[in-house]
């Protein structure tokens, strides 16, 4: 079932992309074998930002280990926290109050939007257009301000705790979010004008980095990258958690399997997230924002797995408890790690310039891969 792993022959050029390289957005190290400009093999070397969060989690209590996961995929840190909190709640069998659920989902979608905006800017920068990056940051800033006001931090919010959220919404929250919705709706069309419709951009994207549906499944690709290949894998739809089951939104599916399809999926997801926020922002139920929990949490002996949809794909938290105050073993199934495994397959035979486009549409966040 394997293709021949590219072997170095005379005339091949082996170059190191990274760990310090503008296109890897972090400390990813790829060893490329090139034939002229054509890629023969890509071999990722990881670990430059490996902090062994899984080992750390083994010595942290159930309240503490949630915050560490903010540092995995720092662009969807809230969603990571959410996944961990869900696992702990599954173990403790806590019913989360309705208000907390809505707040969590609202924050999830805001985080997803912020992440996609950053991705959009960085993606355009990868293919050489530098201006969209700043335009994307303008709208992202509005989200960060909202986050800062309610959660107390802009990126690694640590807003979720087992049983709900740490603190109630800020009184300004609804007004600010509505302002943001109006702002973003007027700007998202500019995004289209600047990048999506651009003929150079389309030529750089279309037919590049093809990933068939079968391969996407076999490589465990998830999230927008897989949905660009037509794999229905949105956890929010398939295995709804919190209140996602009752929300009205679409799972975006594109069948192209190329970079442009993946681009479109993410782009359209921004509008879906916006619609989810619009549905919820006026319907935040009153009530507690946190369920009553004991000061020291002890999960019963057993294994708990919960999965959520981050901005990059499926995040799974596999927690084994031995009945103590700390987990026995935590495994994070991070979306970036699985998506990266398909990179070699996707970029073989394309040009060096395409590699950055492919990496851009995979939306790799290196701490998420390394953990």
């Amino acid at each position: 079932m394997f293709e021949e792993v590219g072997t170095t022959t005379e005339g091949d050029l082996v170059i190191n992309v990274g760990p310090q390289h503008p296109a890897t957005h972090g400390v990813l190290h790829l060893v490329l074998t090139l034939n002229g400009e054509t890629i023969k093999n890509v071999e990722p070397h990881l670990g430059y930002i490996h902090r062994s969060i899984e080992k750390m989690s083994e010595s942290l209590t159930y309240r503490q280990f949630i915050y560490v996961t903010s540092r995995m995929d720092y662009l969807s840190s809230h969603i990571n926290n959410h996944a961990c909190a869900l696992t702990v709640e599954k173990g403790l069998q806590i019913e989360v109050p309705a208000r907390a659920q809505v707040i969590r989902v609202l924050m999830d979608e805001l985080t997803r939007l912020a992440s996609h905006q950053l991705w959009w800017g960085a993606m355009a920068m990868d293919v050489g257009a530098l201006t969209p990056f700043f335009h994307a940051f303008r709208e992202r800033e509005a989200i960060n301000e909202i986050m800062e006001e309610t959660c107390g931090a802009r990126l690694t919010m640590n807003y979720i705790c087992p049983g709900g959220v740490m603190i109630d919404l800020h009184p300004n929250f609804q007004r600010k979010v509505k302002e943001f919705i109006t702002l973003f709706k007027s700007k998202i069309d500019e995004y289209d004008e600047m990048v999506t419709g651009n003929i150079i951009f389309q030529n750089r994207m279309k037919g590049i980095g093809l990933l068939s549906k079968e391969d996407a499944i076999s490589y465990g690709v998830s999230g927008p990258a897989a949905r660009g290949s037509g794999v229905s894998c949105d956890i929010r739809k398939l295995y709804p958690y919190e209140i996602y089951g009752s929300l009205n939104f679409e799972e975006i599916l594109e069948t192209g399997g190329d970079c442009f399809a993946r681009y479109l999926v993410r782009f359209k997801e921004m509008r879906q997230s916006l619609s989810i926020i619009e549905q919820l922002i006026d319907n935040i139920p009153e009530g507690d924002f946190q369920a009553k929990t004991k000061a020291v949490l002890k999960l019963p002996k057993g294994e708990f797995y919960s999965r959520v949809e981050t901005a990059r794909g499926e995040l799974g938290v596999y927690l084994i408890s031995e009945g103590g105050t700390t987990p026995y073993r935590v495994k994070y199934r991070s979306p970036g790690f699985s998506n990266l495994s398909a990179l070699n397959h996707m970029s073989k035979g394309y040009k060096l310039g395409d590699l950055v486009a492919i990496m851009g549409t995979l939306d790799l966040v290196i701490p998420d891969i390394d953990r």
Partner: protein, 158 residues
């Protein structure tokens, strides 16, 4: 027709390029859209959210009294061993020994501003401050003592 398609394609391509240029041209001429914040200059007008987590501080009132009982709940809640509480025994007027804090050591260099200690505090003695310019030239300056000299526990806080 081949030639018609070709011209259409070129027209579409040129149009897409011009739309993009129109957009950047718009921003080039509309300076009101500029979002740059000139940071050190706007320091006086800069408003930080009251929930912003900059560093942990201990609240003291005008009598130089705080509410920390030295229960070490925050120390236990901290994931990074940022807080170290050194306790001592005070002798009350009735002659009983009572546990009180001697020093509340706070390692700012280890702190990730996760708010867990503030959440854990049963008496609300510590809180998050909105300061954010923490850079110092020597790492040891980041180790802070949070209880002010001569401060004591407020009456009635158990």
């Amino acid at each position: 027709m081949f030639i018609v398609d070709y011209i259409k394609e070129v027209y579409g391509a040129v149009k897409s390029l011009l739309t993009g240029m129109n957009r950047t041209g718009y921003y080039f001429t509309h300076h009101k859209e500029i979002i740059t914040q000139e940071y050190p200059d706007n320091k006086d007008t800069l408003v930080l959210s009251e929930r912003f987590r900059g560093e942990v501080v201990m609240k003291h009132d005008e009598n130089n009294e705080h509410a920390c009982t030295g229960c070490t709940a925050c120390e236990l809640a901290c994931p990074n061993a940022t807080i170290k509480i050194i306790t001592k025994f005070d002798v009350t007027p009735e002659g009983k020994k009572k546990k009180a804090i001697d020093t509340f050591v706070y390692h700012l260099e280890l702190c990730t501003m996760c708010n867990l200690c503030v959440e854990a505090c049963p008496t609300g003695a510590i809180t998050m401050a909105q300061t954010f310019e923490h850079s110092v030239t020597d790492r040891s300056k980041l180790i802070k003592k949070l209880n002010q000299p001569g401060s004591k526990i407020r009456e009635g806080v158990e």
